[in-house]
């Protein structure tokens, strides 16, 4: 089963971290060496993938046209969904990156008696994807309190707003609940919708399960298996300033958390998660649809091969064509 192998993989990662946290030297390996390695691989991998993409030529205008193209003056153009100017493309990209506009157009197809095929709007994927990504962003930014000293004002403001309901002590963050809920939705939709399950691969389940594991260990660390935050900040702040040290007692749950995060960082550049950079690089979104206004020349055309029109072709071969009985335009 395609869901079982990623599930076992995540459990195995947790088991490895749990064992390594007990072995002498294992804590330094997982708390210091692995984070540096993972972070370097993450940055290097993302840059490598982007450069590789940038090296591939896109000789044709291939934007997805999701609305009326620029046409005759009395036909109203859809300036964002079929942009013919740079400004239109910028608006399209901002809406796509910040609000996931293409997911907003998500539809579902259902078969009824008849047989009758019915298409309908389906906004849940858009809603939960938005919740997932923004919660993740808030959670990552909140973590900056462990990497910076003094802590920047916006991080403190985020923490205050996020813990606004003051549930428990330490306060429960609302984004944690939203985040878990959104991952659960994205995961369950791959299980319960037959057509989505059919196209889901281990590479789809693994990141969801891994991120779920990260979120869960993080929440457990805050609410159930308490850890010494000062000792952890000493380590993480040390990582950011290149003088890491493991001092005091840090619970195993922290090492599971950081091990899963490192796995995510290493896995990131080689997986579908690269849509983070890919969304900016996709020619179907970032190109201007102006192929009827501007002549685009294929960059690798051989300049020695001159354009050869049909008129010139006929001039060259007229006699042969006549001999073979092929009709010609000019006698």
């Amino acid at each position: 089963m395609r869901i079982l192998s990623p599930f076992i993989a995540v459990l195995a990662l947790i088991a490895v971290a749990l064992v390594a946290a007990q072995v002498p030297g294992g804590q330094a390996l997982m708390g210091i060496i692995l984070p540096y390695l993972a972070f370097a691989l993450f940055l290097g991998g993302v840059v490598y993938r982007v450069v590789q993409w940038a090296k591939s030529p896109v000789p044709f205008r291939i934007p997805t046209t999701c609305g009326q193209a620029n046409s005759l003056p009395w036909i109203k153009q859809n300036k964002i969904d079929c942009p013919s100017t740079k400004l239109g493309v910028i608006a399209r990209m901002i809406l796509e990156v910040a609000l996931f506009r293409s997911l907003f157009r998500n539809t579902k197809a259902e078969m009824y008696e008849g047989p009758k095929l019915v298409y309908g709007s389906s906004k849940f994927l858009w809603l939960f994807a938005l919740l997932f990504h923004y919660s993740f962003l808030v959670i990552v930014l909140r973590h900056m309190r462990l990497f910076m000293d003094p802590v920047p004002g916006f991080v403190a403001a985020l923490e205050f707003g996020d813990g606004f309901l003051q549930i428990g002590s330490p306060v429960f963050y609302q984004t944690d609940a939203l985040f878990l809920g959104a991952i659960a939705f994205l995961f369950l939709r791959r299980i319960f919708l037959a057509n989505i399950r059919y196209i889901s691969l281990p590479a789809d389940y693994f990141p969801l399960l891994l991120i779920f594991g990260i979120a869960l260990t993080g929440i457990l660390m805050r609410t159930v298996f308490r850890v010494d935050v000062v000792a952890i900040k000493q380590l993480t702040h040390g990582l950011a300033t290149f003088s890491p040290a493991i001092a005091g007692q840090i619970g195993s749950i922290f090492f599971i958390h950081i091990f899963l995060v490192c796995t995510l960082l290493i896995y990131f550049p080689y997986s579908k998660l690269m849509h983070m950079a890919g969304v900016f690089m996709s020619p179907t979104r970032n190109m201007i649809n102006n192929s009827r206004m501007v002549r685009h020349i294929n960059p690798w055309n051989d300049p020695n091969i001159k354009p050869h029109s049909y008129a010139a072709y006929e001039d060259e071969f007229r006699e042969f064509m006549k001999e073979s009985g092929i009709p010609v335009e000019k006698e």
């Binding site: 090296k55 900056m144 309190r145 910076m148 802590v151 002590s169 000493q234």
Partner: protein, 126 residues
Amino acid sequence: MYGKGRIIPALILFLGLMTAPMWFKSGDVSKLPKPEKPKDYTECVAPTQFMRTAHMQLLNEWRDDILREGGSRTGKTANGTEYVRSLQNGCMKCHSDKKKFCDDCHNYASVKPYCWDCHLQPKEAM
């Protein structure tokens, strides 16, 4: 490589944002919090490591137990010493200096406990 003019600045921006804690006011690592321990008392209500990690949960339990369930105000340590289960009359009796004891770690870890939303802050900290 195509689109160098846009892609290279974008990559530099990405790397800059990702490594921000490494170059942006990352501070002094050796500057660790040193909460001042009370001089006259040697025993706390629970072992040090537990207090270090879970004191906030203990305070929350006390509040729920005493104010909502009508629990007892007095508790006993493992050694049998009696103490008052109260933030102001219990904890602050030994750890009398909020600035030197509470705030030292809380500021370091960017924690703003909401104890003082209701409780009066000790005078010297005001």
